[in-house]
């Protein structure tokens, strides 16, 4: 990435609050990150950590009444926070596209997949129906759909999960968006098909020049796909940095514990899996200090004050340990 060029997306102190039971509850708390051109950034976290909310805010898709979004998200220099819905509508599909876990939400059941992609192409430029179809078929082919002309004439429910996911990605890419937001795009797929879709996402930046914000709960998916990784815990950033560094030398106890709790596929089987006690707090019950403190094996007095996100080597870590000179040990992993 060119160090001087402004990033494609610069998010600063993004905070999302929703009214819950008569008071405002902060769901996403001061999240900041940047995404460069042709970069894949992974946002990883467990359910309720605020991953999807962050993505929805960037797409202008938070429609809960009374929601309050503050901070800044500049996309190609343009402020997204506070952008009117009309302006969002022209951005979505053209500049920013989104793919979801369930492709059925992206398609209507009553039209063929090809027709819907044609329409998407025609909605954003003066293209004849015939030219649009040529492009649709090429896109589907690029996404690894066998016999794309025939698949284009199918209805969504007639396609397998893997083909539907490819068709949805084709539709998302139909207008050459510079940013693709993928929210758990492979969670509903079988592993062998997931491997194909992840391969496709990695190719997108080479062949389409897209940047990808990949949201997932799966650390394995992040390791295989993302250039940089941001770990969310209870609506806050626990840690972020280059993926290789985060996985080899996690700096935040949560990241380390999360990685440890995944059973290994190779090597010795542990007699017991290291697990994290308890469960994440609901946003309304988030403790005042470090949100991970109630479950953290390293918690001590200093953790009663919320630790800021501070640089440590190539990573940024929201934990008091690095400043105390108590870095976590590197992971010993056998791949």
């Amino acid at each position: 990435m060119d160090a001087d060029a402004p990033p494609l997306l610069a998010v600063r102190d993004l905070t999302i609050a929703l009214p819950v039971g008569g008071r405002m509850v902060t769901i996403v708390d001061s999240v900041s990150f940047t995404l460069g051109a042709r970069e894949i950034l992974g946002i990883v976290g467990e359910s309720g950590s605020g991953k999807s909310m962050t993505a929805l805010a960037l797409m202008g898709l938070i429609d809960a009444p009374g929601a309050r979004i503050t901070g800044s998200a500049r996309f190609k220099g343009r402020e997204l926070v506070g952008l009117p819905q009309r302006a969002f509508r022209t951005l979505r599909g053209r500049e920013i596209a989104m793919i979801f876990q369930d492709p059925m939400t992206a398609f209507t059941p009553v039209y063929t997949v090809g027709w819907q992609i044609d329409e998407q192409i025609r909605a954003h430029g003066r293209v004849t129906r015939k030219d649009a179809r040529v492009r649709t078929i090429r896109l589907l082919g690029d996404m690894g759909v066998p016999d794309p002309a025939r698949v284009a004439d199918r209805y969504p429910h007639q396609l397998s999960g893997g083909l539907r996911q490819r068709a949805m990605i084709a539709m998302a890419l139909s207008c050459n968006p510079s940013l693709l937001i993928a929210d758990e795009p492979t969670t509903a797929l079988d592993v062998t098909v997931q491997a194909q879709i992840l391969d496709l996402l990695r190719r997108l930046r080479r062949e389409y020049g897209s940047s990808v914000l990949l949201i997932t709960h799966d650390m394995g998916v992040v390791a295989e796909t993302c250039d940089r990784t941001m770990v969310l815990y209870s609506g806050t950033i626990a840690e972020r940095g280059p993926t290789g560094a985060v996985f080899a030398r996690p700096g935040h106890p949560y990241t380390a514990a999360l990685l440890d709790s995944i059973p290994p596929l190779h090597g010795a089987r542990p007699a017991r899996l290291p697990s994290i006690p308890g469960s994440p707090p609901a946003p309304a019950d988030r403790p005042a200090g470090c949100p991970f403190a109630p479950r953290c094996g390293y918690a001590h007095d200093a953790c009663a004050v919320r630790p800021p996100l501070l640089p440590r080597g190539v990573q940024d870590i929201a934990c008091v340990l690095p400043a105390e000179g108590r870095d976590l040990p590197a992971r010993c992993v056998s791949a």
Binding site: E46, S47, G162, A195, L258, I262, L273
Partner: protein
């Protein structure tokens, strides 16, 4: 060798799916699970794992074949005769919420099987018996006694799964079939529940059939593994043997496809398989895996391979099994 606790012999399960079409969800599945074993069932969506689990517990009645529980053929037993046997075999499901009535307290939910079934001497359990057993069960699954008076929605997914496990264990079953019991849980919680399953097996001498699509979870908990593809077992054997040096090309592909939480210095890995699983309504002729198999030969397109032992005690359905890499 001890006799199997549960055994399936040439099970077939067919569903009519309209327009005269038949979907063969199980196509001749045979296996035996001995007391104390944990059999992991893996395979992609729709391969028949849940159907097999339900047939083993006779929650579904197979179209053909036999199910033998603890020496008794239960394939065609009427519900009345089956009932006392049912206490010995229980199921835990993926969706911890759907299996719990939201309007009942945890105490009532766990006590329900204790009220319905009589005890070992054929007597109804007294309120005192039930209260004592509830206390024991909560301890067993690591829930506080205070949980009894609360409702399902007051618990997290992991705790609800503990409640389901307590309920499944109420009648002291010998066999538990768990269908994706940790798939819906976050990894940090998943590890707690996997550990719990392992502890319970050690403490109570349970036998599990553990259905999961996550190979790493299956490896962690299983002593043996059965890999299914389109309604049939393609490889079956000792968990370490099968997962360390797979003999069936499909098993090898499944393992290779798992994204591991390690950044590989060799860069991106190519996907091991192309395409999707074919429709089970019209499975491919010959070897059912031949449309996706990277080493398929002409023979595979017409000649269906049968399960056989390649010489190391496992069973593989492939004409050209992979050489052991160990």
């Amino acid at each position: 060798m001890t006799a199997p606790l549960i055994e399936a012999q040439s099970l077939r399960m067919e569903y009519r799916v309209g327009r005269g079409q038949v979907l063969r969800a199980l196509d001749g599945v045979s296996l035996a699970v001995r007391p104390g074993e944990v059999l992991g069932l893996v395979g992609e969506s729709g391969c028949g794992k849940s159907t097999l689990g339900r047939c083993l517990l006779r929650l579904a009645r197979p179209t053909a074949g036999r199910v033998i529980f603890d020496g008794t053929d239960i394939t065609a037993l009427p519900e009345r005769t089956l009932r006392p046997l049912r206490q010995g075999m229980q199921m835990v499901f993926q969706d911890s919420y759907a299996s719990l009535n939201p309007r009942r307290r945890i105490g009532e939910l766990i006590a329900e099987p204790l009220r319905v079934h009589r005890d070992g001497q054929g007597r109804r359990r007294t309120a005192g018996d039930i209260a004592a057993r509830l206390a024991e069960l909560l301890d067993l699954v690591g829930l506080p006694q205070a949980a009894l008076a609360r409702y399902p929605h007051e618990f997290s997914g992991g705790q609800r799964q503990r409640i389901n496990i307590a309920r499944a264990l109420a009648l002291s079953p010998r066999l538990v079939v768990a269908d994706e019991p940790v798939s819906a849980l976050d990894v940090s919680i998943q590890a707690q529940i996997v550990n719990l399953f392992m502890d319970l097996r050690d403490r109570l001498g349970l036998t599990y059939v553990f259905v999961a699509h996550d190979l790493a979870v299956v490896r962690q908990i299983s002593t043996r593994v059965a890999v299914m593809y389109l309604g049939a077992i393609v490889e079956l054997g000792d968990a370490d043997t099968v997962l360390h040096s797979p003999a069936h090309p499909y098993t090898a592909a499944l393992i290779a496809a798992v994204p591991e939480p390690v950044v590989s210095p060799d860069g991106d890995r190519a996907p091991p398989l192309r395409g999707d699983v074919p429709s089970p309504i019209a499975p491919p002729p010959g070897c059912r895996f031949h449309t996706r198999c990277p080493i398929a030969q002409d023979r595979c397109r017409t000649d269906p391979p049968v399960l056989r032992d390649p010489g190391d005690g496992r069973q593989v359905a492939c004409h050209f099994p992979l050489e052991s890499s160990a």
